[in-house]
């Protein structure tokens, strides 16, 4: 067991980035399914929600690509993304929210969780003096940018929730 939040090796970093990819996959799939679950007529009525979910799915796909790019520079084995995609799809039905409020709340959880994940990851890298196979500064800049986008996501969902109260 390692006490204290530190990222100390290429392998550990790669694993954490892979977890980030799965989280993004979950966010993307849930946002897409939430959108699909809106009835056709509701989609027109709720352009704001539609835009939010569409943006969330697109942004997660971009983040996933960025994380994949970072992992490519590390010495790590690949993970079976297709299986993960299938798994996320299969499990969605068991945990999907039931209404608009539920969708918004779930989206808020998605964004907050992603933010917390990147925040902890950045702290863990900053707290360690380990050398990675990829440039440390470049890594931190990339992760901070993603974290910033997640913070914007939290703000966007919160704003919509506030106007609907």
């Amino acid at each position: 067991m390692s006490v204290g939040n530190q990222v100390t090796s290429d392998h550990q970093l790669a694993r954490l980035l892979q977890i980030g990819i799965v989280l993004e996959e979950v966010v993307e799939a849930r946002a897409y399914h939430h959108y699909q679950s809106l009835a056709e007529e509701d989609r027109h009525l709720d352009a704001e929600l539609e835009e939010l979910l569409e943006h969330a799915a697109e942004e997660s796909a971009e983040h996933r690509e960025q994380l994949e790019g970072l992992i490519a520079g590390l010495d790590a084995e690949s993970i079976p993304f297709e299986d993960i995609e299938t798994l996320v799809e299969a499990k969605y039905g068991q945990t999907k929210p039931e209404d608009f409020d539920g969708i918004l709340y779930d989206q808020l959880c998605n964004e907050e969780t992603a933010y917390k994940f990147y925040d902890d990851l950045i702290d863990g890298i900053e707290a360690s003096d380990a050398e990675f196979s990829i440039d440390r500064e470049q890594l931190l800049v990339a992760l901070r940018t993603i974290r910033e986008e997640e913070a914007d996501g939290v703000e966007a969902v919160t704003k919509i929730m506030e106007t609907r109260e």
Partner: protein, 144 residues
């Protein structure tokens, strides 16, 4: 999971294994820290009402400490299951131990949406093998 949660989880598991208070030495070994560090953290846990320390006997969790420990074990179980069943990681125990300090419970909750965890969790966590007794691992040899 923060450091305090790692400690209460370790104390909980040691209490189960030892069927009594967790000794400071065993706790330090389990967490791979010095006995001095373990003692310092035990003091902090006592201040927060999470544990009680009795000289020459060891540490016992309070009711609040037990609640925290059980939550921490669930988070840990999610990380192990996720590594073993989703990412197909052979050394999932060692990796879970490395990752638990960096993975927050909110993150684990999201990962929980794609794994199958037993309803009994965390009672099915076996401290001896450091994994859930229902965890099915295809490629793993039996635990030592």
């Amino acid at each position: 999971m923060n450091t305090a949660d790692q400690y209460v989880k370790a104390i909980y598991l040691l209490q189960q294994m030892e069927d009594g208070p967790a000794s400071t030495g065993a706790l330090a070994d389990m967490l791979d820290v010095s006995p001095a560090s373990a003692n310092e953290m035990i003091g902090k846990l006592e201040d927060r009402g999470l544990a009680e320390h009795e000289k020459y006997k060891g540490v016992t969790l309070s009711d609040d400490g037990i609640v925290r420990a059980r939550d921490a074990i669930q988070t840990y179980c999610i990380i192990e299951r996720f590594l073993a069943n989703v990412l197909d990681v052979e050394e999932f125990r060692a990796e879970a131990r490395e990752l638990e300090s960096v993975i927050d419970e909110t993150v684990a909750e999201r990962l929980d949406t794609i794994i199958d965890r037993n309803a009994e969790c965390p009672d099915c966590f076996d401290p001896e093998t450091d994994a859930c007794e229902y965890l099915e691992v295809e490629h793993e040899k039996p635990a030592d």
